[in-house]
Symmetry: C2
Subunit: 173 residues, 2 copies
């Protein structure tokens, strides 16, 4: 029994596939870059950031966290040849609105003590941040300091903010 969400996926995808012409694209991103941005529902990354099909890896997680994205970034560079990173956080991010302690308390209340133990086992930190531009700078610095990011890429890591109110991107670092 399909849910309305699943029915929407099937119906909308059918229409998408009926005019699909991108079947011949190669696995490695054609323009050799990766974008890290937030999972936020108000961001349509490809359109907002001008990414054509096949051009770039798009990594999305809660808060556009560079730490959370590290596995994907290493794969992107080491195995699929990307050479540049755009890190794009955004205004009105959920990760600005609560703290790690709040999230942990909620998990404990809603899911119980076992869930808190599972949480610690998987990561233990929600990677929230108190200030937006500083968080962008911190994440770019984290990547520049990481031994897992090759030196040749470090000069091509930039940090940005996307404004969900206006659709505009601005440069931070």
């Amino acid at each position: 029994m399909a849910t309305p969400i699943q029915e929407n996926l099937v119906a909308k995808n059918k229409a998408y596939a009926s005019s699909f012409t991108g079947g011949g694209l190669a696995l490695p991103p054609a323009k050799k870059y990766a974008v890290v941005t937030c999972m936020d529902a108000r961001i349509h990354a490809a359109e907002a950031y001008g990414i054509y099909l096949g051009d770039a890896h798009i990594i999305r997680n809660a808060g556009a966290s560079a730490r959370d994205a590290l596995r994907s970034l290493v794969i992107s560079e080491q195995l699929l040849g990307t050479e540049e990173i755009l890190l794009i956080k955004h205004t009105g991010c959920g990760m600005l609105t609560f703290k790690n302690e709040d999230a942990e308390a909620l998990v404990k209340k809603n899911l119980g003590e076992d869930a808190v133990k599972a949480l610690v086992a998987f990561k233990g930190d929600f990677l929230t941040f108190p200030e937006l531009d500083e968080a962008v700078k911190d994440d770019v610095e984290f990547l520049k300091q990481s031994k897992l990011i090759p030196e040749k890429i470090k000069s091509k890591i930039s940090g940005w903010v996307y404004e969900v109110e206006t659709g505009k991107v601005r440069s931070v670092v």
Copy 2:
């Protein structure tokens, strides 16, 4: 000095923002669902999966790994009210083409012994998979077994494959 990739972001975003009308959307996803899919450059998630701006969280990482997405999923549900998960892997995925050992060997060769140590410290597993449909089933099962996913959501986790050759989605589990 902006790179061509950065210039593309600025120019394309300017055009996007000039006709942007989504500034009034709320933070929580309107349709209360989250999609986990791959970072692959050949996937434009919003278009291919019929996701309207503001409707759903879109989480993307190498291989559409549920484990890697767990932090984001917990935040999506516990703090932002989503109640359903679509997990969508795809044909031709890079994670099908190499093994954890290959990736680790490459990191060691290209970035040195220190990078391998950093790798282990951050996660230590590239979360590759040998067979596509099985990997979808495994990930859905992982979420259904997770103490971090509430019971009420477990009946609304579905697994899918997106075909990069045709643009079509098919149901797996």
